[in-house]
Amino acid sequence: MTAPPSLEDLYLRMLQIRLIEEELLRAVQDGRVTGSTHLCIGQEAIPVGTCAALGPNDPVVATYRGHGWALSRGVPAEELLAEVFGRDSDLNGGRAGSAYLSGPQYGFYGENSIVGAGVPIALGLAMACNRLGGNRIPVVSIGDGAMNQGNVHESLNMASVLNIPLIVVVENNGYVEMTPSATLTAVPAAARAAAYSIIAMEVDGNDPLAVAATVSDAREAALQKSAPVLVEAHTRRLGGHYSGDAQQYRPAGELEGWRATDPLTLARSQLTSEAAARCEQQAEGAVSAALALAEGMPTPNVEEVMTHVFSG
């Protein structure tokens, strides 16, 4: 890792993600976005902190709750918004939508709408990075619910025995979709990594500086030992599993309690009010500019709907 990031910079990045996610929630509710979206409100510190610790060419693979990861890896906000709006974005031309978008030109190798499926893909990317060189280590984000998918465990074991450097970030956000994590998972992710002789680290996923420092350590360990590293980041999902989720399963008062550890609130409290105001002004300007650009992008050309099934 180069110089540690500043909290002000990380707050700005988190805030931009938060504003985009809040705008998308409104857009689903007022019909500008069709279909559901899976927002990362409350979890912004994990992609922001992680990507601050990555090398410039480290590939990132995420889940359907991946807007924060795409933006943190460098996908322009207007392209992401246009893709979610079903417009002809420079990402996927409206073919991917909110939950399956990718931008390899930015190092973002895609969200995934199948729980856990990004891990074997990231393993393969790691095999390629390991063989082709360039000091690149892929990062894959999964939720704690994905730790109960078979292909995740196949991949952790395979990465371990084949000595493949790879960083697996498990975002433990308290819920497996709509059911409390603790009721569905026998042993937490970090403890399960030990079963595969994988180095595990745990971090407060609501503290972007801590996330950046931990991922920086993880990256160094993965490179030095030529091995996978699992980072379990503890956080809280401050919204539904998806945009239309009424969250009736939440105990009364839970969300209000969890908001006390909202990563934005925590970061803001450590900044001067001038710095915070600077970030807020900058983020609001950037997001409204991106929104205007996205809404001005053309709709996809229906005549091209059959293209790119195969190359050529």
């Binding site: 990402l91 996927n92 031309g93 074997p120 393993l123 393969g124 990317l125 095999m127 292909n151 991949s155």
Partner: protein, 332 residues
Amino acid sequence: MSSRVDSSESSYIRAVNQALDDALGADSRVVIYGEDVAIPNGPFGATKGLHDKYGDRVFDTPISESAMIGAALGAAMGGLRPIVEIMYADFLMVAMDQIVNQIANTRYVSEGRLGAPLVIRTQQGSTPGSCAQHSQSLEAMFAHVPGLQIAVPATPQDAYGILRDAASSDDPVMVFESRRLYPTKGAVATGSGLGRVGQADVVRSGTDVTIVTWGTVRAWAEEAADHVSESGISCEVLDLRWISPWDRDAVVESVSKTGHLLVAHEAGRVGGFGAEILSSVVEELGPGLKGARRIGSDPVPMPSSPILSAAVLPSVDRLVAGIHSLLKENVA
């Protein structure tokens, strides 16, 4: 890059081995992995000697088909050209997500910004005594999914050429080899692929009935054609070689001439790819098609005892009966 052409006699499995060797030699991005493929030289010998020759470009993996195939996609996205061996086609079923939801979608959904240049090699079909989980012919299941290329080579030459074409394709290819055919021999010209993905092989020309087939049934179709020729029936035999994409033009052209179509494959008849071919020909030729039949395995799980499996598999006798019934119905 090898440019030699060597038409020596080779077994099917040896042709596969030579194709893998030549693919590794031709492109440094090619890696080969699977269960027991490196140090043990491959359960059927397809990868024999390749680890010794190419080192860690040929490596063994855990028994983890989902991770193996998912990793092939990631490796392909990352600039490698992986060739994965899946020991039995039946084992593909534990990796369906990676094939259907991941690999097949990659190029289309990314609008061509990502691709999946990878090969999944496997072998399939019934051999005497093999159980229901080591006997299925599953190619049609994958032909249903847009974005996958599906080959079913029947001869040593095609096993070589198709695998070379697969390895140099920019899109995913599933190659369904045949365990039953591995020992069979034939002339093999090496050095390059067949050159055209999806091109059928006109095995023999004829005038009365078109037999469209692939894989293990090709040889039975030739035998059946020999048999009915004694009754004065002339069969044209087309080995599709690929079912996705498939050579619709060659099939339509042939049936336009003969008027009669028999599609025969080892895979199950119900929902089989033969139904797709037959439907396409009906749509294309309408009343120009005088009669059509499908032959495939009967709709039961494949039993192990050879007496039982023979009762439900296609055979030369079944093909002969199918040809006769096709022509009789037309006369009546």
